[in-house]
């Protein structure tokens, strides 16, 4: 489903974010990306939804080879991939409902579809009661849940979650993780970059640890501290 072929990424400012990453995520897999801050977790995710382009190597997503993907196709790649951004990236001029609906509307969904699926997504993450609020009227956790709702509203093939529980209390975090597991069990490939040790240890899924932009450890049914002393 997602294949990294010897991917390196150097940002324009000269920072080597990723070095020779090779990784294969099967369809329907659930993967945790861990690593202390600044080791390249977000960069890996950016290469999948093509916010960043590898400086060398290539990424293949659902048989699309990204290095040769024409620019016009990028929006369609991004519709296959639901992303929870680390900084949420909500549209500040739109309400919670509209933010979630937007991701659906751009795919050409009918208004019936929108009216049916948006409330369901909002319910799932427990933010339906705030649907008419604007992002700046929400608490941090509420914004995060809106971002999660948006990422899953159009049933993406792949979900990429960048620190999806950083602003959530342990109970809500567990619920969100359980939700991701449920989505995963229906066939969606899920990649979660996280520092949430409790969740990783509880769920025992595949864990990939990044250190200085390299894969330091890759273990099925791993724990958060895999590969550390």
């Amino acid at each position: 489903m997602i294949v990294f072929e010897d991917v390196s990424l150097v940002y324009p400012n000269g920072v080597h974010a990723l070095s020779n990453i090779s990784l294969n995520v099967a369809r329907g897999e659930f993967l945790f990306l861990v690593g202390s801050t600044g080791q390249g977790k977000s960069s890996v995710l950016k290469c999948i939804y093509r916010e960043a382009c590898p400086t060398s190597g290539d990424v293949v997503v659902d048989d699309w080879r990204l290095s040769t993907l024409p620019h016009g196709k990028v929006p369609f790649l991004r519709r296959k991939v639901g992303v929870v951004f680390q900084d949420f990236k909500l549209l500040r001029g739109k309400t919670v409902w509209e933010n979630v609906a937007y991701a659906l509307q751009v795919t050409g969904a009918t208004s019936r579809d929108v009216a049916r699926r948006v409330p369901r997504a909002l319910e799932l993450v427990g933010i339906a009661h705030k649907s008419k609020m604007f992002p700046h009227e929400l608490s941090g956790g509420e914004q995060q849940r809106t971002a999660i709702a948006r990422s899953l509203v159009n049933n993406p093939l792949i979900m990429l979650c960048d620190e999806p529980t950083g602003n959530l209390d342990p109970e809500t975090s567990s619920e969100i993780m359980a939700l991701l597991a449920r989505i995963n069990s229906k066939g969606t490939t899920v990649v979660v970059a996280t520092h949430n040790q409790a969740s990783v240890d509880r769920m025992r899924r595949r864990v990939v640890r990044l250190v200085h932009g390299r894969i330091a450890h890759d273990e099925e049914r791993g724990r958060y501290h895999v590969g550390l002393g």
Binding site: Y49, P75, F85, K89, R92, Y102, A103, G108, T110, D113
Partner: protein, 294 residues
């Protein structure tokens, strides 16, 4: 476009306006101001052209005939001139008529008793349709055997024609300058409003919107901004025109300036069109800048 997408499109346009109201109003204000300035000058130019044409139109050719010319000669010539497509009308002024006119003109200045022979010749006064035809026609007439002398105030006429040409060019240059300036100002303004939403555009791209999905509402918003600015501009210009134009005519009754002849409706249409088209193009270009692949 199905109903759901149309609804989505209009909701996007409406949101851009209402949720960035301060910004939208600032942009509309700038467009309106530019349109007012442009409108004042389009009007001024039309009025001025009209005035100049009317002045130049007053130029006549005076054709003084030799005393030898018989009434038959005069008649033939009169008919020839009337048949000339360049000629608007011809009037015959007899020696006697000319002397009467001179007497009246000199009354009080000159001892009229001293003028007891008529030194003045018969003449035609010829008015052409296009003042530009005056010099060549005068040349042709001068060549005729019956003609003693042709006078069309050649210096004044040529000056007037040059002035008309030069001022016409300057007027055109100024209007072009103003059009370009207005377009650039509207473009820059809309660019700044798009600039402020750069982050939003990036997010839209990241959640899978195609460039066209992002662009259309912006383009339409630009169109509406331009249109609204243009209409507000007209709302300012119209009462100003209504109150000032009569005052102008009143203060300059002796000028051949009929403001009713200025095609105000035409100018108004041009102004609104300029606003709308430039607004639309400006949005298009501004958004496209942020839609280019990184």
């Amino acid at each position: 476009m199905d109903w759901g997408r149309t609804q989505f499109f209009w909701a996007e346009v409406a949101q851009n306006f209402t949720r960035n109201a301060a910004m939208a109003l600032t942009a509309i204000g700038t467009v309106a101001i530019s349109i007012v300035v442009l409108g004042v000058f389009l009007f001024a130019r039309s009025s001025f052209n009209l005035l100049l044409n009317n002045v130049v139109n007053k130029v006549d050719i005076a054709v003084y005939l030799k005393d030898e010319a018989t009434p038959a000669d005069i008649d033939t010539m009169m008919r020839q001139l009337r048949a000339d497509p360049r000629v608007d009308n011809v009037r015959f002024v007899s020696k006697q008529e000319a002397l009467e006119t001179l007497r009246k003109r000199l009354a009080g200045q000159v001892n009229l008793g001293l003028i007891n022979v008529n030194p003045l010749p018969n003449s035609f006064v010829v008015h052409t349709i296009d003042p530009g035809d005056v010099p060549p026609l005068a040349g042709e007439l001068q060549a005729k055997p019956q003609v003693a002398f042709v006078n069309y105030g050649s210096k004044v006429t040529e000056k007037l024609l040059v002035i008309r040409r030069v001022l016409g060019t300057i007027g055109l240059g100024v209007i072009v300058l103003l059009l370009v300036a207005t377009a650039l100002i509207i473009y820059n303004t809309i660019r700044l409003t798009v600039f402020a939403r750069q982050r939003e555009i990036t997010i839209m791209q990241l959640v899978g919107a195609t460039n066209w999905t992002i662009r259309w509402p912006f383009v339409f918003e630009g169109l509406l901004t331009g249109l609204a600015g243009g209409l507000i501009g007209l709302l300012v210009l119209w009462p100003a025109y209504q109150t000032l134009a009569p005052k102008l005519t009143l203060n300059l009754p002796f000028l051949p300036l009929n403001l009713a002849d200025v095609s105000v409706g035409h100018i108004a249409l041009e102004l609104v069109l300029v606003g709308a088209v430039v607004g639309m193009l400006a949005s298009w270009l501004s958004v496209s800048r942020y839609l280019r692949p990184a």
